[in-house]
Amino acid sequence: MFDILIIGAGICGTSIARELTRFKLKIALVDKENDVSNGTTKANSAIIHAGYDPKPGTLMAELNSRGNPMFDTLCSRLQVPFKRIGSLVLAFNDTDLKTLGKLYKQGIQNRISKMEIIDRDQLRNLEPEINPAAIGALYAQTAGIVGPWELAIALAENAIDNGAELYLNSPVVSINKVDKVFTVTTDSAQFRSKVVINCAGVQADKINNLIAPPEFKIMPRRGEYYVLDKTAGKMVRHVVFQPPGDLGKGVLVTPTVHGNVLIGPNSERVSRDDAIETTAQGLEYIQKTAQQSFTNIPLHQTINIFAGLRAEPDTGDFIIAESPTVKGFINIAGIKSPGLSAAPAIAEKVVGIVDSILPALKPNQDFIETRREIIHFAELSDKAKARLIKKDPRYARIICRCENITEGEIVDAIHRNAGATTVDSVKRRVRPGTGRCQGGFCMPRVIEILAREQNQEMDNILKDGLNSPVLTGMTKSEEIRESEPAFTAPQLKEVEC
């Protein structure tokens, strides 16, 4: 029997899992997808917000301002890219300036430091290519950018290193509670646990409703983005927001931790909780709006477009609490923006809730804060490169020619805890295929390595989800392979720990 079962391995689930491994607890982390961070955590603006934005007094305000300063230590310990580059909210007229004043005041109430309202010249100094029509900005130095899925993957890996168990490909279909013990059933297994934590993102209301009366509703709101090539990377140095309107923080232009440029999101209510397709209208809106911040956006250098879903709750604020009706069932729901920024603080708060449910938590003496070293070949000095290759010649084979990523790095990503099993999961960890060619050259090689390392045929390798084979069989042998299903679900089994 588990002490804790967490449903959903996004930034919330993985943060909570890792924080709880500081204690002697048996923890299961369960997700329906075949990789961690495959929900909203892989598709957002990746901003660690300063914290002036949420309404004072809300959980969002409290946890954003508490979460933000935790990122430096957390990301350096886990070797996750994080840069405190600061953010700017632009003003184009007097009304906007008033709004900035309000945001500034709100920031003071939320106890945010290092904010100032700057004039046009200071703005031009910070962002030389900004639209000259901008007359000032709210400059918040503590805002940062992070690799969101890298962080969730790192947290999951570290949690497993510290004893947690990860179950992927495990959609939860029912939850029961008998004699203070929950039975959580997925399509292929049953788990028993004393505490269940619901971190199911846009599906959190559905998970709640499996065991408790409907207490909240999640209304997904889609945001779409452009990613530009690194050659456009120098156009922007800070996170640049437009004056906030009715639809949230508005369209932003920001560098990413890897030196690309991210432009988006719009904000559109959608009816499906898997509506992550991009749309011509959405992209056009973003293009038009972003041009108010920078008049010359080189959209022809786009290398990718994507969309993510905000888990907008009908309560208006994060829901982080034990269910009032089902003891031992904790909801982490409605974690819209600034969910990423708040995640480390959310995890701490959840420890408190768990502590109030389970008898005295004992510290895990063996807890390790860090992960085994991750090598980024391209960032090493020539000497270090030469030394590394002598030790392991797989680092001499460049697989991704856009980002100079080696076979050694890919093999390592496959064999780590919470390791990569698909083309996209390799991409999220070590980035082959994220460059200009978008995998055109390296995808065949990545598939070959995945097949070899996992003892699979190349045509069994998936792009991302469970039904996403890249190849459809050998040439001249369509009939033979056609009858084979891509994936067979295993028998229902009891998971013991």
Partner: protein, 425 residues
């Protein structure tokens, strides 16, 4: 640090021909560096025939064409390293490369020839909305999977883009038992060779939808369908013209981009029109002693022209190494005007010319009954008649070096005189 007179980066047809030509011109100490496991470049996956009509006067397959040059290279004992990736080149011509045998190597060269080829434009670059499932491939990647790795990429296929690679793949997939539903082309004309449209589409009853594009991709995990819409004269989708196709694969053949990350590291100036280095009559770039040829300079339709261009670069590099260049600074710019998209070379050194000066160009629109006109300063000095001109087909204009040396123009410009069809790019 290793030392070579000449290092060639890329062992495709351009790199091979350049190295061979440099040796024929007396350069002894040559090294070819190739990232792939084999020499031959992209030709190794082009198993159809039609290569070499100009140079060998016969129809070879891609690998056969490449093999002729590989054999010659081997006979000449020119040194090469495969499975070797060049990571960096500097303005002072030091090269950093890496491979499993030698580890990280540093090479200093008297001259360098860049022959890195090109890469394909992707879905992101043309911003097709929709989901992001498996089953969206660039045509070249699909070609590699099928022809080299032996795997099929899908069963019901839509192809976007009617460039030659897309056309060739339509036939290839059909022969492999897949159903190609349609080839959609944004422009009102195909950028592929007429020969390929007939032999790859018409012969297999595959519809070619001109002035159409893909406006949506559906499917959560694997492609389940795409929407194709008609476009207006401004290439914008026409609302109401959407048609849905059920397919499991979308192939993109939407253009090639010269691969110039290394060139930028060496501070080589690129031409925004071609995406490749600005070169002179010997294919020398803006950095002295660094030459470039093949698809890294501009995208070619025919490999025969790649070979010719590479020979120029090889000979030019030899002249540079042996200090046989009388005039160093290129003085005469060659400027594209009305109707001309780009011209290679972008500038010339008149005193360095020998025999013929070949200008390679692409036009901006489709023309009928046209003339390509060459102007030296204010005066039109040559007109070449063409019944048909299209941006998809590279054109060549040949000038006599002696005439250039007599008139000594300050600029040369090219323009098109003819009936333009209503569409422009």
């Amino acid at each position: 640090m290793l030392n070579y007179e000449l290092v060639v980066i890329g062992g495709g047809p351009a790199g091979l021909a350049a190295a061979i030509e440099a040796r024929k011109n007396g350069v002894q100490n040559i090294l070819v560096l190739e990232r792939d496991l084999e020499l031959g470049g992209i030709l190794q996956q082009c198993i159809h025939n039609g290569f070499g009509l100009h140079i060998f006067k016969e129809e070879l397959t891609g690998p056969e064409y490449a093999q002729r040059f590989i054999n010659e290279l081997l006979e000449m004992d020119i040194e090469y390293k495969t499975d070797t990736m060049v990571l960096d080149i500097s303005e002072i011509k030091t090269i950093t490369a890496v491979n499993k045998q030698d580890g990280l190597i540093q090479i200093s060269a008297n001259a360098i020839i860049l022959a890195m080829g090109c890469r394909e434009r992707t879905r992101g670059a043309i911003r097709i909305p929709g989901t992001r499932p498996a089953g969206v491939f660039t045509a070249g990647t699909a070609q590699r999977f099928i022809n080299i790795e032996g795997y099929m990429v899908g069963r019901r296929i839509v192809i976007l883009g009617s460039g030659d690679i897309g056309l060739i793949m339509a036939r290839r997939l059909t022969l492999e038992g897949a159903k190609v539903l349609a080839v959609a082309e944004l422009m009102p004309y195909s950028s592929g060779l007429t020969r390929n449209i007939v032999q790859c589409l018409h012969d297999y009853d595959i519809p070619l939808l001109l002035s159409h594009t893909v406006t949506d991709i559906r499917g959560k995990d694997r492609v389940t369908g795409v929407t194709i819409s008609k476009v207006d004269q401004n290439l914008k989708p026409i609302p109401g013209s959407e048609k849905e196709y059920q397919c499991d694969t979308l192939l993109l053949s939407v253009g090639l981009i010269p691969e110039n990350e290394l060139s930028l590291q060496a501070n080589i100036k690129l031409d925004p029109r071609t995406g490749g280095p600005i070169v002179n009559e010997s294919m020398e770039t803006s950095v002295e002693g660094i030459f470039a040829c093949g698809n890294v300079v501009h995208v070619h339709d025919l490999v025969d022209y790649v070979t010719e261009e590479a020979q120029k670069a090889g000979a030019g590099a030899a002249d540079y190494i042996f200090e046989e260049i009388t005039e160093k600074i290129p003085a005469v710019p060659i400027v594209p005007q009305e109707g001309v998209n780009y011209i290679i070379p972008q500038n010339i050194r008149i005193d360095n010319l020998n025999g013929f000066l070949d200008l390679m160009l692409r036009v901006t629109s489709v023309y009928r009954n046209a003339k390509i006109c060459v102007r030296a300063d204010e005066k039109t000095i040559k007109e070449v008649k063409r019944p048909h001109l299209s941006p998809g087909e590279m054109e060549r204009v040949r000038l006599n070096s002696n005439i250039m040396k007599t008139i000594r123009p300050k600029t040369i410009s090219l323009y098109i005189d003819g009936e333009k069809t209503q569409y422009a790019i």
